[in-house]
């Protein structure tokens, strides 16, 4: 049983784009470790040869006829965005600092 460390929690928080305070790191580490300890019954189970189920229905691709039809109203969609310029979503620089 891998036990969850503070470093693990800091790592997954970074992967999930969340920033935690030192205090939050302590709290979440304790709480998540407790939940994962409970999941030890699953981890310990012998499931050799049991196929995984990812979904209750057999998933299949669903296609419709390739006919043009109206999509969402562009103005309505852009109206919900925090920042817009020239009919596009506006974001800060992706690489490096703003000039």
């Amino acid at each position: 049983m891998a036990s969850l460390t503070r470093d693990d929690v800091a790592h997954v928080a970074a992967l999930a784009r969340l920033e935690l305070t030192e205090e939050e790191l302590d709290t979440f580490t304790g709480q998540l470790a407790k939940v994962l300890d409970h999941a030890a019954d699953v981890e310990a189970l012998d499931t050799e040869g049991v196929p995984p189920t990812s979904h209750p229905l057999p998933l299949r691709n669903v296609l419709r006829a390739d006919e043009p039809r109206p999509s969402l109203e562009r103005d309505e969609v852009l109206a919900a965005a925090p920042s817009v310029e020239d009919q596009r979503f506006r974001v800060p620089p992706v690489l490096g600092e703003a000039p």
């Binding site: 920033e19 999941a39 499931t47 998933l59 979503f89 620089p93």
Partner: protein, 483 residues
């Protein structure tokens, strides 16, 4: 106790169709009920008084012109605030979506309008439907109409409370691990999780896509059946929608349970279940037997693994679904010099603690080195649960179990201990993992005087059988109260 007059949806629709009252009068009456007690209960994130009024006027004109107003004519319906409503705020009770107005309606919202129902408001929930008490809402908790010091359950606590308080005869919720059935049980109303894929999820903001299902809250079994008939049926907008017409539930409600085989799930009747909850399930078993069903104890061993599997699978799916809240296209943005810094600041400020906990749990379960031990294993357990249910349904038409281990608990009782909160869903989680239908039917109260729900579980697409048994339990309860 609740002193509200809880009107049956079918009675409201009948009287509106018959011209005995107008839809406007019905809406007015419910808005007054809301004005009276909403300050104590906080069932709603938004009440659509003006839009509801306009819709009611429109419906009254349709009736005056001789048009068919639909099976839910003039019936106010409260919508969980994770269902998209075009032009009206949809928040998931999260800061990260505060102020967002979707550019489209969920399929269920469209179907309700087509059936003559009136959307009266958006109900409070645990943020992104993650929780079992509606204490995790960014906009404050909802209170249980039966006892304001108790939680209404969650995550659809606002919807359950709205029906129990008489704010609306019907409500919609979503059920990922029990989020309809558990609050229905705590608030003393009927709550249904349909077969996965029976109701379109188009326009339901995703939490864990392979588990989420929209379903009804109602004061009576017939009302719940009517609402489910209206919202069920194939939808090309949802690729997981089952390609079948809506089932005919109401027509079969009175057929009873004579000759049906009912199994009481042993694993959900033992340790951890309060004795008075267990006693009500036993009383329900006796009522079904008295109505002609064969009732026996049975074993579904893998259900005891449900909570562990669920809290690896659901957060994994949630961590993926909630990646879309990046501050770019909608909702909150916290400004920062670069996009990655803006993403980080936005998500850190926008999500509450329970959502962060689950995102991290899911990210961990899916991470390299742990994927096989946690997520992969949990998916295999899902197979074991499905196998055990399938085996049980070889011998039984229905299964019976508690909906929840206890009656409604006080505020704060489990907020510092996520695992304790998670374990309160032990009875409801297995059927989300299997995709089978299940419902909670009010069946009396515990020693504390608070409502107790019993849970009926059925094989996939056997809602008709499940509702027949629910109607028998409802009749038995009416007899018990009347006696």
């Amino acid at each position: 106790m609740s002193d509200a007059t809880v009107l049956s949806a079918l009675e409201v629709a009948r009287s509106v169709r018959a011209g005995e009252r107008t839809a406007v009068e019905v809406v007015q009456q419910h808005l007054e009920a809301i004005a009276g007690r909403e300050g104590d209960i906080h069932a709603f994130n938004a009440v659509h008084d003006r839009d509801a009024h306009l819709a009611a006027e429109h419906l009254d004109r349709r009736i005056a012109d001789g048009g068919d107003p639909g099976p839910l004519a003039g019936v106010p319906v409260a919508l969980k605030d994770n269902l998209c409503t075009r032009g009206l705020p949809t928040t998931c009770s999260s800061r990260i979506l505060e102020g967002w107005r979707p550019p489209y309606d969920a399929t269920v919202v469209e179907r309700l309008a087509a059936a003559g129902a009136i959307a009266i408001g958006k109900t409070n929930l645990d943020e992104f439907a993650m929780g079992s008490s509606t204490e995790n809402s960014a906009f404050g908790p909802t209170r249980n109409p039966h006892d304001l010091s108790r939680v209404p359950g969650g995550s659809s606590g606002g919807s359950a409370a709205a029906v129990a308080a008489g704010f609306a005869p019907l409500a919609l919720g979503s059920d990922t691990g029990g989020s309809i059935r558990q609050p229905a049980s705590f608030c003393g109303v009927v709550g249904v999780k349909p077969t996965y894929g029976l109701v379109s999820r188009y326009g339901l903001i995703a939490f864990a896509s392979s588990l989420d299902q929209i379903g009804p809250f109602a004061p009576t079994v017939a009302d719940a059946a009517t609402l489910l008939e209206v919202i069920a049926g194939h939808d090309p907008m949802d690729s997981t929608s089952i390609d079948q017409p809506s089932p005919e539930l109401v027509r079969h409600l009175g057929e009873g349970v004579d000759g049906l085989r009912v199994g009481v799930v042993r694993e959900l009747m033992g340790e951890g279940i309060e004795p008075d909850v267990r006693a009500r399930v036993t009383a329900a078993a006796e009522a079904l037997a008295a109505a002609g069903a064969t009732v026996e104890e049975t074993s579904v061993p893998a259900v005891s693994l449900g909570v562990s599997a669920y809290y690896l699978i659901a957060p994994a799916e949630a961590s993926s679904n909630l990646a879309r809240y990046d501050g770019v296209r909608y909702g909150l943005r916290v400004d920062a010099p670069t996009t990655p810094a803006m993403n980080l600041a936005t998500r850190t400020a926008g999500f509450g603690d329970e959502v962060k906990r689950r995102i991290m749990l899911g990210t961990f379960a899916l991470s390299a080195g742990y994927y096989d031990a946690y997520y992969g294993k949990a998916q295999q357990v899902r197979t074991l649960i499905i196998r055990d249910f399938t085996a049980a349904y070889d011998s039984f038409d229905l299964l019976l179990a508690p909906t929840t281990p206890s009656t409604a608990f006080p505020f704060g009782a489990k907020t510092d201990d996520p695992l304790a909160m998670y374990l309160s869903d032990v009875c409801t989680i297995p059927s989300n993992l299997s995709g089978d239908p299940a419902m909670s039917v009010p069946f009396g109260s515990g020693a504390d005087g608070l409502p107790v729900g019993v849970q009926l579980l059925a094989p996939a697409l056997q809602e008709v059988t499940m509702f027949r048994a629910a109607a028998v339990l409802e009749d038995a309860m009416a007899g018990e109260v009347g006696a």
